[in-house]
Amino acid sequence: MEQMDIEKDLQTKGLILNMGPQHPATHGVLRLMLHLDGETVVKCTPYVGYLHRGTEKLCENRTYISALPLMDRLDYISSMANDVGYCVAVERLFGIEPPDRAKYIRTMMCEMTRISSHILWLATHALDMGAMSVFLHSFREREWLLDLFEMITGARLTVSYPRIGGVRCDVNREFLESLYKFTEEFPKRIEEYETLIDQNRIWLQRTKGIGVISARDAINCGLTGPTLRGSGVSYDVRKHEPYDAYDQVDFEVPVGKNGDVYDRYRCRMEELRQSNRIIRQCIKKMPDGPILADNSPELDMPAEGHRKLIPEMSLSHACISLSDECESIAPAGEFYSAVEVPKGELGFYILSDGSGKPYRMRLRSPSFVHASALPRLCRGHMVADVIALIGTIDIVLGECDR
């Protein structure tokens, strides 16, 4: 009775808490407005756009090939996969078929990116949950991969490596040997990470049963990638609509059961192993031959249909010899193409008017869709679990805000 009286006197009030955009655990500049009742989240509203750079609009002013470096900056920790996705989209629009060697190189590079992205995800996710040592261990392997990227592409993160109709430069033997050594070493390293957290009771308590989303809801929310596969839906663009050499390599799509944070973690860990497997197969099967299709556009592809040849030019051979009767550069029309980046399904919707620039380019970025599922995931959980949930959807704000 006494207790009741005290509670009547206490005025309880909801609290609005702004989490981010300058919060280290929001993985960038994500702002979440949390309506709290005590420590329970009643409502969560994500605010995005703090990293908006207008990539879609910028593409309209650049030729297809000049827009490619912009794609590096979407999801800056898996830039190779974005570039490949963009190139696949433009190739399908142009009707260019890349040579076999280029396809294998791209597949290999994509999987390297997937590993480095998932490693970074694991590192930061575990760091958010208080497991510091995983972070340090996984950055060691990431460094190895970044060095390999630098060896071939000349940059560690913003690679600009794929090219419409192939890749920019060939891979050498030294690189393939080093990469093969990595693939031999890497499964042991995955086991190391798992030793640190997989059965750890703190990790289990913070991940099991948190942020459960059913397969039906996950599909309705538009989730893709490991975030969807954690709920038991075996959807993977690499399997369902193979691009590059994915139909020629053997791999499995790991799926979870319960759709909680732990299952999504398990999915990503299995994907690391599968990616490793794909890389090994690619190295073994790597065919010889050209790396760029003959009909691929030149770097200085024209933006308009007619390109004037400048006769006064002292080095006239430097000018590309596009014949004058060539009216349109790209086929006109609307076109959607999707690839599987480490985060999920990255789609490019290109509206072409026949010139060398896209009339409109729309990006379907997985991080944006996943951020929109946050309110659904956060409801009813504690504030500390929100950190786990931001981590589990593997959000990168560069891609989310574009």
Partner: protein
């Protein structure tokens, strides 16, 4: 729950295993570098600070003002001014805004005479923005800075002629491009030293 599971629970086996790994790492060789003291050697073809190749023949830049680099540049950070004489174009102004540059390397790749290069220099922080507006003289100075530190006497950038690309796709200037002969500091100093002695 089996006995094994119970034992695991009671004795914190999974945590001990993790801790064992952490302690094992303590006696391993460190994988990190002490950066400002120990510098990382970038791979050949790393895309760093821009430079104009100083032509050993003329002592000037090789640029022919074809404007290709400024056309392909995705961030549109290259500004070129030139005037036309009867036989050729003469470069008047060449500026790269390094703060806008995205280091994609398209300019070095498209250049028909291999005049432009992204060197492997990656440490060039400065206090003012003006320091990052690379004009002609600054670009040549960048080359001198870079080439004096080279270990070999000849330099060839990867992006001038990318491996695996059909050579017929390239302009003649690129096909015939040889390694640039670089005069090195040690070599120069030795020569001047000898000269001094002779005098």
């Amino acid at each position: 729950m089996t006995l094994r599971d119970a034992a695991k629970k009671i004795f914190f086996l999974e945590i001990l295993k993790g801790l064992a790994l952490t302690f094992r790492t303590m006696i391993n060789r460190p994988v990190t570098r002490r950066y400002p003291k120990v510098k990382r050697e970038p791979f050949m073809g790393f895309r760093g600070r821009h430079a104009f190749v100083r032509d050993p023949g003329t002592g000037r830049e090789k640029c022919v003002a074809c404007l290709k680099c400024s056309i392909v540049c995705p961030s549109q950070c290259i500004r070129i001014e030139y005037k036309e004489t009867e036989e050729r174009r003469v470069l008047e102004k060449y500026e790269i805004e390094a703060l806008r540059c995205v280091f994609c390397g398209y300019c070095a790749e498209v250049c028909p005479v291999c005049a432009l290069v992204l060197t492997e220099v990656y440490e060039y922080a400065d206090y003012t923005r003006e320091q990052f507006l690379f004009d002609r003289e600054r670009l040549l100075k960048n080359w001198d800075d870079f080439s004096s530190g080279l270990k070999t006497g000849a330099y060839f950038n990867k992006f001038w002629r990318l491996s695996g690309i059909d050579i017929n796709r390239m302009p003649v200037g690129k096909r015939l491009q040889q390694s640039v002969q670089v005069k090195q500091k040690e070599f120069l100093s030795k020569e001047s030293f000898d000269k001094g002695r002779a005098a």
